[in-house]
Symmetry: D2
Subunit: 357 residues, 4 copies
Amino acid sequence: MSSSFGKNFKIMTFGESHGEAVGAVIDGVVPGIKISKEDIQKELDKRKPGQSKITTLRKEKDEVHILSGIFEGKTTGHPICLVVYNKNQDSSAYDNLKDIFRPGHADFTYLKKYGIRDYRGGGRSSGRETVGRVAAGAVAKRMLGGIKIIAYTKEVAGTIAKTVDLTEIEKNPVRCPDKEAAKEIEKKILKARKEGDSLGGIIEVIVKNCPSGLGEPVFDKLDADIAKAVMSIGAVKGIEFGAGFSIKNLKGSSDNDEFYLDKNSGKVRQKTNKSGGILGGISSGEDILFRVAVKPTASIAKDQFTVDTKGKRKKISIKGRHDPCLCPRIIPVVENMVAIVLADAIMQQERIKGNKK
Amino acid sequence: MSSSFGKNFKIMTFGESHGEAVGAVIDGVVPGIKISKEDIQKELDKRKPGQSKITTLRKEKDEVHILSGIFEGKTTGHPICLVVYNKNQDSSAYDNLKDIFRPGHADFTYLKKYGIRDYRGGGRSSGRETVGRVAAGAVAKRMLGGIKIIAYTKEVAGTIAKTVDLTEIEKNPVRCPDKEAAKEIEKKILKARKEGDSLGGIIEVIVKNCPSGLGEPVFDKLDADIAKAVMSIGAVKGIEFGAGFSIKNLKGSSDNDEFYLDKNSGKVRQKTNKSGGILGGISSGEDILFRVAVKPTASIAKDQFTVDTKGKRKKISIKGRHDPCLCPRIIPVVENMVAIVLADAIMQQERIKGNKK
Amino acid sequence: MSSSFGKNFKIMTFGESHGEAVGAVIDGVVPGIKISKEDIQKELDKRKPGQSKITTLRKEKDEVHILSGIFEGKTTGHPICLVVYNKNQDSSAYDNLKDIFRPGHADFTYLKKYGIRDYRGGGRSSGRETVGRVAAGAVAKRMLGGIKIIAYTKEVAGTIAKTVDLTEIEKNPVRCPDKEAAKEIEKKILKARKEGDSLGGIIEVIVKNCPSGLGEPVFDKLDADIAKAVMSIGAVKGIEFGAGFSIKNLKGSSDNDEFYLDKNSGKVRQKTNKSGGILGGISSGEDILFRVAVKPTASIAKDQFTVDTKGKRKKISIKGRHDPCLCPRIIPVVENMVAIVLADAIMQQERIKGNKK
Amino acid sequence: MSSSFGKNFKIMTFGESHGEAVGAVIDGVVPGIKISKEDIQKELDKRKPGQSKITTLRKEKDEVHILSGIFEGKTTGHPICLVVYNKNQDSSAYDNLKDIFRPGHADFTYLKKYGIRDYRGGGRSSGRETVGRVAAGAVAKRMLGGIKIIAYTKEVAGTIAKTVDLTEIEKNPVRCPDKEAAKEIEKKILKARKEGDSLGGIIEVIVKNCPSGLGEPVFDKLDADIAKAVMSIGAVKGIEFGAGFSIKNLKGSSDNDEFYLDKNSGKVRQKTNKSGGILGGISSGEDILFRVAVKPTASIAKDQFTVDTKGKRKKISIKGRHDPCLCPRIIPVVENMVAIVLADAIMQQERIKGNKK
């Protein structure tokens, strides 16, 4: 019941998988920012289904329509409504699932919560909901100046990216920065699909050129806000910053990042980055680093047992064209959610700067 | 700059480590709830310094004062202001640190953000800030009915709790549910202190008797809100629900929790709990399960190198009485933050129930 | 820059006068509420231009499209996106006004604030913005149970409705509850139009069957929230509840409403209603009563002097089809804004009731 | 249940009339602003009881205590907690009123809403609640630069201030800018008190030097936000801006303010100010002008009839020391609420300016 996000850069997303449309309204965009339909379409294209042989084979064009808030190529400071109309949704495939609780899905909890459920394609609980996030994020990115947000597949089914070549990411369908690892993961994903199964994985995110000073202690810390933004994406089950869970084996003396004066930039920097670019909830100017745990796609063709709404046991096999591994397509969603958090944090910090005189 | 948290059960915390007081105001408490000063004091006592030989040796009574919102032992529906006055704070110890960026601390980022910094004991970035969270959480707990939130130290420096005996937790200073592991961890903590160092660890949290239906997709999902609440606590660097990061090695067929009808309760249940009690961002009725990564205390007596505000290199050794491992004292903070999230989610869901007729 | 309204029943409206569309997204609608496209269209029809000879003669069908949140005729608990596409907007009429500050309009302040301005038809500052409010209000009305909100033209240009016959309101184009006054006002409006001028007036609002207990002291008092909702409508310059500004001549002994026990209903009632149905910011169960001051339409054909963006003096005459008196068409906007405030307050109060056990 | 106000400059007030304390926490104050205890005390002194022979004769010192957020005389960017402890509250006077619904008071509605009521001195519904508003407003005022907010008694019981000499306001206990009117009003107030009665009145407010560009259409318009802020003060029953309710008799040609270029300042100005300094919800740079209707004090010594909680008829006479006319003491409350709204709006607008590059 809360499809609203952000304090300054506020978005409200809407839309069900098999409804009329999905999209977002953004309230709080600063006026005078240049933005084109292409800027938004580019992000949606990174997310759209049917991009490669390892994603769902469904083809959807996902064309964005700008209904408001942009005038002569610039933001006006008024709400920007972005809509992607759903096309050719075939809901009949869901008729036989309408009274069944699919394992790993939100069917059961949605019915418990709302007492009513749009079962067609998962309704609002579908990954299709993220179209609104990505469209809004595309606008947020225009407010980030030189900040770059880069996400990639770090690990799937035991195969880990050992090198990080950022130029490699968009060259393979896995979105993995290690060419060799990418090939291996691709094979594993195709094999899982053939077996009617799916794979989980780890996404890693780097934010470069982030200025120091973003984040609002004590509750709206930058890492807390990023955690919420990313954990709110379906299929995400964990997040860790910098050294993350491995700090259980570190000591203060090995975990603390030493400060030094960088002669070139004249800036205070840190020799290591175990903190992941955030200290006390505020960006330090070092790269922001975090990793995200992505669960295997819940929709699988393999036989599973479950119950229906009357509690009767059922054997099901979920047909349809589902992504056998969510990592490649969640990557643009993560990037754009981080963009929204950063745009919000920047606006918040500008407020201080403006007044600090 | 944001010390506000919650949508229905709204809190605003305040106070610096060496200022006049720390505390919280809660706006949105339902009227007519029985609550006593002791209910709040009990939670603060679990958090207070000087509880055992493995925590800081500083002694603070941390007595709560209720300034408003309670009348004849019941909440009135109006803001509850809870204050703990700071006593005997000795700020002189911080005079020599006033221009120094302590590694692992927020000194540098606070100065970058605010341009001004209360250096005495870390000011607002101190762990002392959590007094307000715990006091507010104590009120939240009174709104949770039969829900129980239990947190404990799961792992420190390679020692893992192998058994989980909930009755054991409060019997050892580590707050570990495995007696033997507790002893080993205690030794390791004492050794670290002797060496002028500190240890990180993992806290595990179980929420029992949580009704299904809590959490507000698509952004205010229960796991997203818990993630934000917990990640906003100083020293927390990661969170994972259910199978967490280990899902990178799972397949859909092994990760999906099978639904079945429990004959005894007549309820639909899940045979496993890899999802950690939350599906699609909504509680399923199974135990909520998550783990939290806690970094080693940044304040250590061992020599460290850093710079001062002018960029000059400095060698420092942080004296004072600091917790050599934060896990035992962060536990009540985590529990109470979760209580606040749940109280908020319950109020939100009541709203639906009330109107669903 | 804030097109968001409401805490529980949250709306975000969007759209410019001559852009692609106007509309609203509503986040927070309780699931399971029956609603049809006709329910919404009916409200929009009350607001649409070209209804009668005393409103603007522009004809717009203003057909609503429901893009999300309704499934099989019921709300799902997810955001409802309502869109009205703009048709046949002729922006060329505004080309000669693009650099001119129209007196009584927001041209000057919008440019000062945003540094950019969609001058076509006033852009976001146009009364057309209220389409989103009315569409959202139509949904809110479905959550009000037996509550009735009735607004009508009370006074225009010295002619006052002396009788209040609620059945009369929709029978005349002035929406006046006094047949004779309606005729006189109609004549005055037509005369003003002929003279290239416009008229101000007073709208009166009665809310019947409002339960006691709505409103949230100390800031979100029901009268304060209604005041904000109504004052945010363009052209509204004042609001007064109950005895209103006439209390300047009252004494405590004449202003206080006496409580008595109503034998029929068994309820505590008030003999008079000088308080306008709200005591201490909370509805008392008596009719809520308030009056709204509506300024004369700023767009007039009569010659006026002003300056352009370079400060050069200009004589202008605003052509186009404008309402010569805004009262009749603001009435549905006021009603629906009050509906939104009440739906929000009801949800808030349900939260208390649900938890009060 | 909502004692929270503001989006950027956020306050949470707390406290009951006869509880431990009243006060406010402010979250969102920009760091680095110079502020002293005296700055806050000065505002509280303007509000405190017992100032003159025409206010309540109760004497309360109302000394403010700053618990947090200020370091070395400057704001730190962290929450400022301001507390005024209640002294010598004699609650016994209220024992006989504990089951009685005082006419014109919130006793009845509070009980209906909350099911529980702190009857001592009105509890949270008491005017004493405004101490928190005034203390917070004193901080807000430090963020307003050259803006001046001036409120005064315009009219009481038929006597109207005919001249407006701002230097006169603080020279008479009525806070009236017309010396002669002040004397007459003072006499009328004293006479009303002698008769066991009370008087209503009108307060007028001028905001000078307000920059253009403040206010956030379409909902958070500056006049809408001021209306909410002021209408949320107890006893306020109406508000009107500029020409206000008198526009019912104006035409577009007489209401529209003509723009011209002021040669001296080089600024675009308006020849008249019927709009009250706000156009389209945004400040225009002209003085902001509004008037507020204040009801007669509900607590009067004269006999009144009412019922108790069981519906039994009762005759009551409210003893105690109450203000016979609320205008003089509401003036600082209005001023400080406006200061809070303006500080919030300025922060919001800075956000745009900061990003507009």
